[in-house]
Symmetry: C2
Subunit: 363 residues, 2 copies
């Protein structure tokens, strides 16, 4: 298959509309960016939906000391699109297919992590945004954009039964919660906790339930109880109620901590059974205070997890197709993205914003 003719403005690249931030304090605003023409291994997508991840907000505002932001920053790594062009060596996709792109667009392919099929740990991985762009120079630009060009290996097939707006957040919120559950053996018969019922947490509840675990949601908001139950939780615990917490002492096989604000991790460590694990997926910049005794006395562990591998992300999407799982989303036009960020800070969304990217055509 030969590369389809591209509407490039100059040889090797073309222009695309996008929304970018120019500084930590600037609102996102319309801009024009360059995308490369697809090479022989590349797939070009017209972006249909892009989820808004809390990471987008952290990165745009340069809130992570370990990953400083280079401006302009075009965020977005929960991308659903329609294939418009494919390179000559592409075999999995053809124009018209619905496909997806997540947090990674490349890795070195040669390190032990890549050989182990764990691209998310490749020391030279290229993130979908705010990583060096080896093709065009500058930094990679994410999904708040008309289109994107990505190496086939990093493009996923999307099960045909999934709602596309709701499928977008699977590419980060989905895999980020699915991967540690698979890694730490969440199955039927296990007792699993989910801390925080936001974008990640609500996906974690759906996955834990679908994997057959007895699922308990921890929340600070009594008014989230009914929602938690309807998402698939068997129990809801108010985390500031010591009596409710104590009833669950030393009883959990696994807890997924999806809170990205400062909080007391020890309170959850105490709820783990012997050999129980709590995995952090929230990028909290300030260190957690962790009691050694909480870990020692029951051989408990605290770990972290970050997205998942390419193979695992496809597995997750297929699992979602089989169980008809997508994120609960509020669909917005790109023009409302700054307002959405403010609402995200107040957890005022059930549970994820998904940008309908056709709105960008009119911006």
């Amino acid at each position: 298959m030969s590369t389809t003719q591209l509407d490039s403005k100059s040889y090797g690249q073309y222009n695309a509309k996008a929304y970018s931030a120019g500084s930590p304090t600037s609102p996102l605003a319309p801009t024009i960016i360059a995308r490369r023409d697809p090479g022989e291994q590349d797939v070009r997508l017209e972006i249909l939906f892009c989820g808004i991840c809390h990471s987008d907000l952290h990165q745009v505002r340069n809130e992570w000391s370990v990953m400083p932001t280079v401006y302009p920053c075009i965020p977005g790594h929960e991308i659903i699109g329609r294939v418009t062009h494919v390179g000559s060596a592409v075999t999995k996709f053809k124009p018209g297919d619905i496909a997806a792109v997540g947090c990674l667009v490349d890795s070195d392919g040669s390190c032990p992590e890549c050989h182990a099929g764990l691209e998310q740990f490749c020391p030279n991985m290229i993130l979908t945004y705010n990583s060096p762009d080896v093709h065009l120079g500058g930094m990679t630009y994410g999904g708040y954009s008309e289109s994107i060009v990505v190496k086939e290996h990093f493009v996923f097939s999307v099960p045909s039964n999934l709602d596309l707006a709701g499928a977008a957040p699977l590419l980060c919120a989905g895999i980020t919660t699915y991967s540690p559950m698979r890694h730490w053996g969440v199955t039927k018969g296990k007792k699993v906790g989910v801390v925080g019922l936001g974008g990640l947490g609500h996906m974690a509840v759906k996955f834990a339930h679908a994997l057959g675990a007895h699922t308990v949601v921890f929340t600070t908001s009594p008014n989230k109880k009914d929602d938690a139950l309807s998402l698939g939780a068997e129990e809801v615990v108010l985390s500031h109620d010591a009596d409710q917490m104590n009833k669950h002492a030393s009883s959990f096989d696994f807890i997924l901590d999806a809170v990205s604000a400062e909080h007391d991790v020890n309170a959850y460590v105490q709820l783990l059974s012997r050999d129980g694990n709590i995995t952090l997926v929230g990028g909290v910049d300030k260190p957690h205070a962790v009691s050694a005794f909480g870990l020692l006395l029951k051989r408990r562990s605290i770990s972290g997890s970050v997205i998942g591998s390419i193979v695992e992300t496809q597995e997750m999407l297929d699992f979602c197709g089989k169980h008809n799982i997508a994120a609960d989303v509020e669909v917005i036009p790109i023009q409302k993205v700054n307002e959405a960020y403010e609402r995200l800070l107040k957890s005022n969304v059930k549970y994820r914003f998904s940008i309908d990217m056709k709105s960008l055509k009119s911006s």
Copy 2:
């Protein structure tokens, strides 16, 4: 076999010389304690050597908020002795045998942990000292004593080739370091770090080396380098030298952190490879500051471990017999125990004190 005649001062119990602390600020001093007559499942040992564990000092001075001390406190849980009397149902031991007792003297035998053969996690386990004594009332009394009476299940056989003074610390320092190495899969081909070259750390080096791992010692003391190498380490890293530390970034499969003073755990987390684990065995009361990103980006984990099971402790002693491993000890009379505590606080011992308990006869 019938119970041997006991020198009990009153029915059901007898008196024994011991050293006890009367308050958090009192020195240890001679006293007389009651021991029970052996029941049919019990073994009575004349104590030959008792190691001095850092836990003894913490407990005597009531420094652990999670385990408050009841006074008088008679510490000691690294006990080597000669069997003098056995109950009628005892099958593994006979008078004259050399045997050992560690940190546990009983557990409920009926909980899931006991059924799993993991008595160290039994919620009703009885510690060798400072636990409720169900036989005589009051609290259990440890090994700074002439003799002890313990249920057979919690008494170990000691390989005949081991030096008895050096074998005593195996019962806590030994199993505490051996158990997590076995649990986290330390074998030939793994790169293993040991933080802190004290009582626990020097045992960890011996075990990691004997298990075939490439063993690296982290220390703040340049003058410990030669000792670390002679104990079996392949490399020694000065932990306050950032360049030396950075050379080992993301390279360790497992690190055993044996430091029981406040220190920066994140510095070692950064040295773990993907899926690497650092296990804390030091009981530091103040919480550790743990960076979430350090865990997230390589799926690393921090865990704790506490002693080991009864089966595993016997396995460890047998491993020590096979590899001729014992602690490096300075043998002292019981009369020097308070001085030894002060030296322990300054890490002024290579690497463990072992009390020659025959000294108690003259006190």
